[in-house]
Amino acid sequence: MRSNVSEYELVAPGSLSAVLALMAAEPGAWTLMAGGTELMVALGAGRLAQRKLVSLWGIDELRRITTSNDWLTIGAGATFTDIRENEIIAKEFPLMARAASWTGAIANQNRGTLGGNIVNASPAADSPPVLLVYEAEIELASAQGTRRMKYSDFHLEYKRTVMQPQELVMAVHLPRGRRLPVEYLRKVGTRNALAISKIALAGVGAMQSGKVQTVRIAAASLRETPARLLATEAALLDHALTSERILAARKVLLQEVKPIDDIRSTANYRAYVAANLLEEFLMQMAASEG
Protein backbone atom coordinates (compact mmCIF):
# COMPACT_ATOMS: atom_id res chain seq x y z
CA MET A 1 0.00 0.00 0.00
CA ARG A 2 1.21 3.42 -0.99
CA SER A 3 1.66 5.94 1.85
CA ASN A 4 -0.60 8.97 2.06
CA VAL A 5 2.01 11.67 1.45
CA SER A 6 -0.15 14.38 2.93
CA GLU A 7 0.50 12.87 6.37
CA TYR A 8 4.23 13.51 6.16
CA GLU A 9 5.99 16.69 7.18
CA LEU A 10 9.24 17.66 5.46
CA VAL A 11 11.15 20.83 6.24
CA ALA A 12 14.37 22.20 4.78
CA PRO A 13 16.04 24.54 7.30
CA GLY A 14 18.88 25.13 4.82
CA SER A 15 21.85 25.26 7.19
CA LEU A 16 23.60 22.90 9.57
CA SER A 17 23.04 25.15 12.59
CA ALA A 18 19.31 25.45 11.85
CA VAL A 19 19.01 21.65 11.53
CA LEU A 20 20.85 21.13 14.83
CA ALA A 21 18.65 23.71 16.58
CA LEU A 22 15.53 21.92 15.38
CA MET A 23 16.87 18.57 16.63
CA ALA A 24 17.85 20.06 20.00
CA ALA A 25 14.38 21.56 20.49
CA GLU A 26 12.64 18.22 20.03
CA PRO A 27 15.20 15.40 20.48
CA GLY A 28 14.22 12.29 18.57
CA ALA A 29 11.19 13.88 16.93
CA TRP A 30 12.81 14.51 13.58
CA THR A 31 14.29 12.08 11.08
CA LEU A 32 16.99 13.33 8.77
CA MET A 33 16.81 12.73 5.05
CA ALA A 34 19.61 13.49 2.61
CA GLY A 35 19.20 12.09 -0.93
CA GLY A 36 16.16 9.99 -0.07
CA THR A 37 17.45 6.74 -1.58
CA GLU A 38 16.48 4.83 1.58
CA LEU A 39 13.57 6.71 3.16
CA MET A 40 11.72 7.44 -0.09
CA VAL A 41 11.74 3.72 -0.87
CA ALA A 42 10.07 3.12 2.50
CA LEU A 43 7.57 5.89 1.70
CA GLY A 44 6.72 4.33 -1.66
CA ALA A 45 6.20 0.95 -0.04
CA GLY A 46 3.92 2.39 2.64
CA ARG A 47 6.28 1.57 5.50
CA LEU A 48 7.85 4.91 6.42
CA ALA A 49 6.99 5.15 10.12
CA GLN A 50 8.62 8.55 10.74
CA ARG A 51 6.22 11.41 10.02
CA LYS A 52 8.48 14.41 10.65
CA LEU A 53 11.44 14.70 8.31
CA VAL A 54 14.21 17.22 7.85
CA SER A 55 15.93 17.61 4.49
CA LEU A 56 19.73 17.80 4.53
CA TRP A 57 19.90 18.00 0.73
CA GLY A 58 21.61 21.15 -0.51
CA ILE A 59 23.44 21.99 2.75
CA ASP A 60 26.85 22.68 1.26
CA GLU A 61 28.73 22.64 4.56
CA LEU A 62 27.89 18.93 4.88
CA ARG A 63 28.93 18.05 1.35
CA ARG A 64 32.55 19.21 1.21
CA ILE A 65 35.53 16.94 0.69
CA THR A 66 38.63 18.61 2.17
CA THR A 67 42.17 17.75 3.18
CA SER A 68 44.67 18.70 5.86
CA ASN A 69 48.19 17.31 6.12
CA ASP A 70 47.08 14.23 8.02
CA TRP A 71 43.42 13.74 7.14
CA LEU A 72 41.02 13.58 4.24
CA THR A 73 37.58 14.69 5.40
CA ILE A 74 34.44 13.62 3.58
CA GLY A 75 31.30 15.54 4.57
CA ALA A 76 28.41 13.23 5.43
CA GLY A 77 26.37 14.83 2.65
CA ALA A 78 28.92 13.96 -0.07
CA THR A 79 27.28 11.71 -2.65
CA PHE A 80 28.83 8.56 -4.02
CA THR A 81 29.30 10.45 -7.28
CA ASP A 82 31.22 13.17 -5.39
CA ILE A 83 33.40 10.44 -3.86
CA ARG A 84 34.00 8.65 -7.17
CA GLU A 85 34.97 11.88 -8.90
CA ASN A 86 37.35 13.17 -6.21
CA GLU A 87 40.95 12.94 -7.42
CA ILE A 88 42.56 12.70 -3.98
CA ILE A 89 40.24 9.87 -2.97
CA ALA A 90 41.03 8.05 -6.23
CA LYS A 91 44.75 8.42 -5.56
CA GLU A 92 45.02 7.88 -1.82
CA PHE A 93 41.92 5.83 -0.91
CA PRO A 94 41.07 3.89 -4.06
CA LEU A 95 38.93 1.32 -2.27
CA MET A 96 36.65 4.16 -1.21
CA ALA A 97 36.14 5.18 -4.85
CA ARG A 98 35.53 1.57 -5.88
CA ALA A 99 32.94 0.97 -3.17
CA ALA A 100 31.19 4.20 -4.22
CA SER A 101 31.20 3.03 -7.85
CA TRP A 102 29.10 -0.03 -7.04
CA THR A 103 26.73 1.53 -4.50
CA GLY A 104 23.63 1.36 -6.69
CA ALA A 105 23.56 2.63 -10.27
CA ILE A 106 24.43 6.16 -11.42
CA ALA A 107 21.09 7.76 -10.44
CA ASN A 108 21.41 6.35 -6.91
CA GLN A 109 25.05 7.43 -6.68
CA ASN A 110 23.96 10.93 -7.62
CA ARG A 111 21.65 11.11 -4.59
CA GLY A 112 22.89 8.60 -2.00
CA THR A 113 25.30 10.03 0.57
CA LEU A 114 28.10 8.58 2.66
CA GLY A 115 26.38 9.77 5.85
CA GLY A 116 23.14 8.07 4.86
CA ASN A 117 24.96 4.84 4.07
CA ILE A 118 26.53 4.92 7.55
CA VAL A 119 23.52 5.90 9.69
CA ASN A 120 21.20 3.51 7.91
CA ALA A 121 23.57 1.02 9.57
CA SER A 122 22.82 -1.88 7.26
CA PRO A 123 25.29 -4.74 7.77
CA ALA A 124 25.30 -5.04 3.96
CA ALA A 125 26.29 -1.41 3.20
CA ASP A 126 29.15 -0.92 0.74
CA SER A 127 31.19 1.85 2.40
CA PRO A 128 31.68 0.57 5.97
CA PRO A 129 34.16 -2.28 5.31
CA VAL A 130 36.37 0.20 3.47
CA LEU A 131 36.10 2.79 6.24
CA LEU A 132 37.08 0.08 8.73
CA VAL A 133 40.23 -1.07 6.93
CA TYR A 134 41.31 2.53 6.35
CA GLU A 135 40.87 3.16 10.12
CA ALA A 136 38.41 6.01 9.60
CA GLU A 137 37.17 8.30 12.33
CA ILE A 138 33.64 9.66 12.46
CA GLU A 139 32.53 13.08 13.63
CA LEU A 140 29.09 13.64 15.13
CA ALA A 141 27.50 17.03 15.70
CA SER A 142 24.72 18.35 17.90
CA ALA A 143 23.73 21.82 19.07
CA GLN A 144 26.10 21.20 22.02
CA GLY A 145 29.13 20.72 19.78
CA THR A 146 30.95 17.90 18.03
CA ARG A 147 32.55 14.64 19.09
CA ARG A 148 34.87 12.42 17.14
CA MET A 149 35.61 8.72 17.55
CA LYS A 150 37.00 5.70 15.79
CA TYR A 151 34.48 4.48 13.21
CA SER A 152 35.06 0.96 14.55
CA ASP A 153 33.31 2.06 17.78
CA PHE A 154 30.27 3.50 15.97
CA HIS A 155 28.09 0.43 15.35
CA LEU A 156 26.82 -1.26 18.52
CA GLU A 157 24.48 -3.99 17.31
CA TYR A 158 22.10 -4.62 14.40
CA LYS A 159 20.92 -1.19 13.18
CA ARG A 160 21.96 0.42 16.49
CA THR A 161 24.77 2.98 16.74
CA VAL A 162 26.26 5.29 19.38
CA MET A 163 24.31 8.26 18.00
CA GLN A 164 22.11 10.24 20.39
CA PRO A 165 18.68 11.46 19.19
CA GLN A 166 19.87 15.05 18.79
CA GLU A 167 23.04 14.13 16.87
CA LEU A 168 23.84 13.80 13.19
CA VAL A 169 26.89 12.52 11.33
CA MET A 170 28.87 15.49 10.14
CA ALA A 171 31.90 13.94 8.49
CA VAL A 172 34.20 10.97 8.11
CA HIS A 173 37.96 11.44 8.43
CA LEU A 174 40.46 9.15 6.72
CA PRO A 175 44.13 9.18 7.82
CA ARG A 176 46.45 10.16 4.95
CA GLY A 177 49.94 8.90 4.20
CA ARG A 178 49.44 5.44 5.65
CA ARG A 179 48.57 3.56 2.49
CA LEU A 180 49.62 -0.10 2.53
CA PRO A 181 50.97 -1.91 -0.54
CA VAL A 182 48.14 -4.43 -0.83
CA GLU A 183 44.53 -3.28 -1.06
CA TYR A 184 41.66 -5.64 -1.75
CA LEU A 185 37.92 -5.17 -2.13
CA ARG A 186 35.40 -7.51 -3.59
CA LYS A 187 31.63 -7.50 -3.50
CA VAL A 188 29.62 -10.56 -4.36
CA GLY A 189 26.07 -9.72 -5.41
CA THR A 190 23.52 -10.73 -7.99
CA ARG A 191 24.50 -8.08 -10.53
CA ASN A 192 26.86 -5.13 -10.66
CA ALA A 193 24.42 -2.24 -10.65
CA LEU A 194 21.89 -1.97 -7.87
CA ALA A 195 22.47 -5.30 -6.20
CA ILE A 196 22.84 -5.22 -2.46
CA SER A 197 25.81 -7.38 -1.56
CA LYS A 198 25.42 -10.98 -0.47
CA ILE A 199 28.83 -10.43 1.08
CA ALA A 200 31.75 -8.03 0.66
CA LEU A 201 35.28 -8.21 1.98
CA ALA A 202 37.85 -5.44 2.24
CA GLY A 203 41.49 -5.99 3.16
CA VAL A 204 44.69 -3.97 3.35
CA GLY A 205 48.10 -5.19 4.36
CA ALA A 206 51.85 -5.33 4.03
CA MET A 207 54.41 -8.13 4.07
CA GLN A 208 57.92 -7.88 5.45
CA SER A 209 60.61 -10.56 5.13
CA GLY A 210 58.05 -13.12 4.07
CA LYS A 211 55.71 -12.51 6.97
CA VAL A 212 52.51 -10.54 7.44
CA GLN A 213 53.62 -7.26 8.97
CA THR A 214 50.25 -5.45 8.95
CA VAL A 215 46.79 -6.66 8.01
CA ARG A 216 43.29 -5.26 8.41
CA ILE A 217 40.20 -7.10 7.16
CA ALA A 218 36.55 -6.03 7.32
CA ALA A 219 33.35 -7.48 5.97
CA ALA A 220 29.79 -6.64 5.05
CA SER A 221 26.89 -9.04 5.60
CA LEU A 222 28.90 -11.38 7.80
CA ARG A 223 27.89 -10.09 11.21
CA GLU A 224 25.04 -8.01 12.64
CA THR A 225 27.05 -4.85 11.94
CA PRO A 226 29.82 -3.98 9.49
CA ALA A 227 32.82 -5.47 11.28
CA ARG A 228 36.60 -5.88 11.39
CA LEU A 229 37.60 -9.53 11.50
CA LEU A 230 40.06 -9.19 14.36
CA ALA A 231 40.52 -12.88 15.15
CA THR A 232 41.29 -13.62 11.51
CA GLU A 233 43.79 -10.74 11.45
CA ALA A 234 45.45 -12.08 14.63
CA ALA A 235 45.76 -15.52 13.04
CA LEU A 236 47.74 -13.98 10.19
CA LEU A 237 49.95 -11.38 11.86
CA ASP A 238 53.67 -12.22 11.91
CA HIS A 239 53.09 -15.43 9.95
CA ALA A 240 54.35 -16.52 6.58
CA LEU A 241 51.46 -17.15 4.18
CA THR A 242 51.95 -20.88 3.67
CA SER A 243 49.04 -22.95 2.41
CA GLU A 244 48.65 -24.33 5.96
CA ARG A 245 48.46 -20.81 7.37
CA ILE A 246 45.88 -19.73 4.79
CA LEU A 247 43.80 -22.80 5.61
CA ALA A 248 44.07 -21.99 9.32
CA ALA A 249 43.00 -18.39 8.66
CA ARG A 250 39.98 -19.64 6.69
CA LYS A 251 38.97 -21.71 9.71
CA VAL A 252 39.32 -18.76 12.08
CA LEU A 253 37.23 -16.62 9.73
CA LEU A 254 34.49 -19.27 9.61
CA GLN A 255 34.36 -19.26 13.42
CA GLU A 256 34.48 -15.49 13.63
CA VAL A 257 31.68 -14.63 11.21
CA LYS A 258 27.98 -14.96 12.01
CA PRO A 259 26.19 -14.76 8.66
CA ILE A 260 22.46 -15.30 8.36
CA ASP A 261 20.00 -16.78 5.89
CA ASP A 262 17.92 -14.07 4.25
CA ILE A 263 16.29 -13.04 0.98
CA ARG A 264 19.67 -12.41 -0.70
CA SER A 265 21.65 -15.49 0.28
CA THR A 266 22.27 -18.24 2.82
CA ALA A 267 24.54 -18.30 5.85
CA ASN A 268 26.54 -21.22 4.43
CA TYR A 269 27.09 -19.57 1.07
CA ARG A 270 28.16 -16.33 2.73
CA ALA A 271 30.60 -18.06 5.07
CA TYR A 272 32.35 -20.10 2.39
CA VAL A 273 32.48 -17.28 -0.14
CA ALA A 274 33.95 -15.08 2.59
CA ALA A 275 36.66 -17.66 3.19
CA ASN A 276 37.35 -17.77 -0.56
CA LEU A 277 37.61 -13.98 -0.72
CA LEU A 278 40.00 -14.06 2.24
CA GLU A 279 42.14 -16.56 0.38
CA GLU A 280 42.10 -14.40 -2.75
CA PHE A 281 43.25 -11.42 -0.68
CA LEU A 282 45.99 -13.49 1.00
CA MET A 283 47.27 -14.71 -2.38
CA GLN A 284 47.68 -11.06 -3.37
CA MET A 285 49.47 -10.41 -0.09
CA ALA A 286 51.79 -13.39 -0.67
CA ALA A 287 52.59 -12.21 -4.20
CA SER A 288 53.25 -8.63 -3.13
CA GLU A 289 56.78 -9.10 -1.89
CA GLY A 290 58.91 -9.80 -4.91
Binding site: N4, V5, S6, E7, Y8, E9, L10, V11, A12, M33, G35, G36, T37, M40, V41, L43, G44, A45, L53, S55, W57, G58, T81, G104, A105, I106, A107, N108, N110, R111, N192, A193, L194
Partner: protein
Protein backbone atom coordinates in the same frame (compact mmCIF):
# COMPACT_ATOMS: atom_id res chain seq x y z
CA UNK B 1 -8.15 9.10 2.16
CA UNK B 2 -7.67 10.88 5.46
CA UNK B 3 -7.72 14.67 5.43
CA UNK B 4 -4.44 16.46 4.74
CA UNK B 5 -2.70 17.21 8.01
CA UNK B 6 0.38 18.85 6.61
CA UNK B 7 0.03 22.21 4.84
CA UNK B 8 0.89 22.23 1.17
CA UNK B 9 4.16 23.73 0.02
CA UNK B 10 4.54 25.95 -2.98
CA UNK B 11 7.18 24.42 -5.21
CA UNK B 12 8.58 26.71 -7.87
CA UNK B 13 10.82 25.13 -10.44
CA UNK B 14 11.66 25.16 -14.09
CA UNK B 15 10.37 22.14 -15.99
CA UNK B 16 11.55 21.61 -19.56
CA UNK B 17 12.53 25.26 -19.69
CA UNK B 18 9.22 26.62 -18.40
CA UNK B 19 8.68 28.23 -14.97
CA UNK B 20 6.10 26.19 -13.08
CA UNK B 21 4.55 26.44 -9.62
CA UNK B 22 2.58 23.71 -7.85
CA UNK B 23 1.02 23.46 -4.39
CA UNK B 24 1.71 19.94 -3.14
CA UNK B 25 2.57 18.05 0.06
CA UNK B 26 6.36 18.41 0.56
CA UNK B 27 6.88 14.64 0.55
CA UNK B 28 4.95 14.08 -2.69
CA UNK B 29 7.25 12.23 -5.03
CA UNK B 30 8.61 14.32 -7.88
CA UNK B 31 7.42 11.48 -10.15
CA UNK B 32 3.82 12.07 -9.05
CA UNK B 33 4.13 15.86 -9.26
CA UNK B 34 5.32 15.54 -12.85
CA UNK B 35 2.69 13.01 -13.87
CA UNK B 36 -0.35 14.22 -11.90
CA UNK B 37 0.12 17.95 -11.37
CA UNK B 38 1.95 18.77 -14.61
CA UNK B 39 0.56 15.93 -16.78
CA UNK B 40 4.01 14.97 -18.00
CA UNK B 41 3.17 11.31 -18.37
CA UNK B 42 6.32 10.52 -20.31
CA UNK B 43 7.84 9.95 -16.87
CA UNK B 44 6.95 6.35 -16.07
CA UNK B 45 6.65 4.49 -12.80
CA UNK B 46 8.14 1.02 -12.82
CA UNK B 47 9.32 -0.27 -9.48
CA UNK B 48 8.85 2.85 -7.35
CA UNK B 49 12.00 2.03 -5.40
CA UNK B 50 14.91 3.31 -7.45
CA UNK B 51 15.83 0.05 -9.14
CA UNK B 52 14.38 0.24 -12.65
CA UNK B 53 15.12 3.77 -13.85
CA UNK B 54 11.87 4.25 -15.78
CA UNK B 55 11.15 7.45 -13.79
CA UNK B 56 14.60 8.93 -14.60
CA UNK B 57 14.73 12.70 -15.08
CA UNK B 58 17.54 15.24 -14.96
CA UNK B 59 17.40 17.43 -11.85
CA UNK B 60 19.70 20.42 -12.26
CA UNK B 61 21.37 18.38 -15.00
CA UNK B 62 21.90 15.35 -12.74
CA UNK B 63 20.28 11.98 -13.45
CA UNK B 64 17.90 10.98 -10.64
CA UNK B 65 15.07 8.54 -10.03
CA UNK B 66 12.12 10.89 -9.62
CA UNK B 67 10.30 8.30 -7.48
CA UNK B 68 12.91 8.93 -4.77
CA UNK B 69 12.91 12.74 -4.81
CA UNK B 70 10.44 14.52 -2.53
CA UNK B 71 8.84 17.58 -4.14
CA UNK B 72 10.42 19.95 -1.62
CA UNK B 73 13.91 18.93 -2.75
CA UNK B 74 13.07 19.97 -6.31
CA UNK B 75 12.11 23.51 -5.23
CA UNK B 76 14.17 26.03 -7.17
CA UNK B 77 15.62 23.36 -9.47
CA UNK B 78 15.53 22.71 -13.19
CA UNK B 79 13.89 19.49 -14.33
CA UNK B 80 14.27 17.87 -17.72
CA UNK B 81 11.87 15.10 -18.73
CA UNK B 82 11.55 13.23 -22.01
CA UNK B 83 9.00 15.85 -23.10
CA UNK B 84 11.82 18.42 -23.03
CA UNK B 85 14.28 16.52 -25.21
CA UNK B 86 12.77 17.56 -28.54
CA UNK B 87 13.05 21.21 -29.58
CA UNK B 88 10.31 22.85 -31.67
CA UNK B 89 8.98 19.48 -32.71
CA UNK B 90 12.35 18.22 -33.91
CA UNK B 91 13.49 15.06 -32.15
CA UNK B 92 16.77 15.19 -30.27
CA UNK B 93 19.57 13.12 -31.73
CA UNK B 94 19.19 10.42 -29.08
CA UNK B 95 15.45 10.12 -29.79
CA UNK B 96 16.08 9.83 -33.52
CA UNK B 97 18.59 7.00 -33.11
CA UNK B 98 16.35 5.11 -30.65
CA UNK B 99 13.60 5.36 -33.26
CA UNK B 100 15.72 4.34 -36.22
CA UNK B 101 17.66 1.53 -34.61
CA UNK B 102 14.87 -0.20 -32.71
CA UNK B 103 16.03 1.02 -29.31
CA UNK B 104 12.43 1.02 -28.17
CA UNK B 105 9.80 -1.70 -28.18
CA UNK B 106 7.04 -1.50 -25.57
CA UNK B 107 8.27 1.95 -24.65
CA UNK B 108 7.98 1.92 -20.87
CA UNK B 109 11.73 2.13 -20.25
CA UNK B 110 12.42 4.41 -23.19
CA UNK B 111 12.00 7.88 -21.61
CA UNK B 112 14.22 6.96 -18.66
CA UNK B 113 16.68 5.19 -20.91
CA UNK B 114 17.04 8.26 -23.13
CA UNK B 115 17.56 10.55 -20.15
CA UNK B 116 20.21 8.19 -18.74
CA UNK B 117 21.86 8.26 -22.19
CA UNK B 118 21.58 12.06 -22.33
CA UNK B 119 23.17 12.32 -18.88
CA UNK B 120 25.98 9.96 -19.86
CA UNK B 121 26.75 11.78 -23.12
CA UNK B 122 26.77 15.19 -21.44
CA UNK B 123 29.36 13.97 -18.95
CA UNK B 124 31.32 11.72 -21.27
CA UNK B 125 30.81 12.56 -24.97
CA UNK B 126 32.86 9.57 -26.11
CA UNK B 127 31.91 6.67 -23.88
CA UNK B 128 33.29 3.22 -24.65
CA UNK B 129 31.07 0.17 -24.45
CA UNK B 130 31.78 -0.37 -20.75
CA UNK B 131 30.90 3.24 -19.96
CA UNK B 132 27.64 2.99 -21.93
CA UNK B 133 26.71 -0.16 -20.07
CA UNK B 134 27.48 1.42 -16.72
CA UNK B 135 25.62 4.60 -17.65
CA UNK B 136 22.49 2.61 -18.53
CA UNK B 137 22.83 -0.08 -15.84
CA UNK B 138 20.22 1.52 -13.61
CA UNK B 139 17.60 1.35 -16.37
CA UNK B 140 15.88 -1.96 -16.92
CA UNK B 141 14.42 -3.02 -20.26
CA UNK B 142 12.43 -6.23 -20.62
CA UNK B 143 12.03 -6.13 -24.41
CA UNK B 144 15.08 -5.23 -26.40
CA UNK B 145 17.85 -7.23 -24.79
CA UNK B 146 19.72 -3.89 -24.59
CA UNK B 147 21.81 -4.36 -27.74
CA UNK B 148 19.70 -2.03 -29.88
CA UNK B 149 19.69 0.52 -27.08
CA UNK B 150 23.48 0.44 -26.92
CA UNK B 151 23.59 0.76 -30.73
CA UNK B 152 21.30 3.80 -30.48
CA UNK B 153 23.57 5.49 -27.95
CA UNK B 154 26.63 4.81 -30.09
CA UNK B 155 24.97 6.20 -33.17
CA UNK B 156 23.70 9.24 -31.30
CA UNK B 157 27.34 10.21 -30.92
CA UNK B 158 28.01 9.38 -34.56
CA UNK B 159 30.86 7.27 -33.34
CA UNK B 160 32.09 4.22 -35.19
CA UNK B 161 31.75 1.03 -33.21
CA UNK B 162 35.20 -0.44 -32.72
CA UNK B 163 35.83 -3.81 -34.35
CA UNK B 164 36.33 -5.62 -31.05
CA UNK B 165 33.18 -4.07 -29.61
CA UNK B 166 31.21 -5.11 -32.67
CA UNK B 167 32.54 -8.65 -32.21
CA UNK B 168 31.39 -8.58 -28.58
CA UNK B 169 27.95 -7.32 -29.55
CA UNK B 170 27.66 -9.95 -32.27
CA UNK B 171 28.69 -12.68 -29.86
CA UNK B 172 25.99 -11.66 -27.39
CA UNK B 173 23.39 -11.59 -30.16
CA UNK B 174 24.12 -15.17 -31.22
Amino acid sequence: MSAAKIPLDEIRFKVNGEERCVSVPPMKRLLDVLREDLELTGVKEGCGEGECGSCSVLLDGVLVNSCLVPALQADGCEVLTVEGLATNGALAHIQQTFLELGGTQCGICTPGMMLAAESLLRKNPHPDLAAIREGLAGNLCRCTGYMRIIDAVRHAMQMPILAEEQAELDAVRK
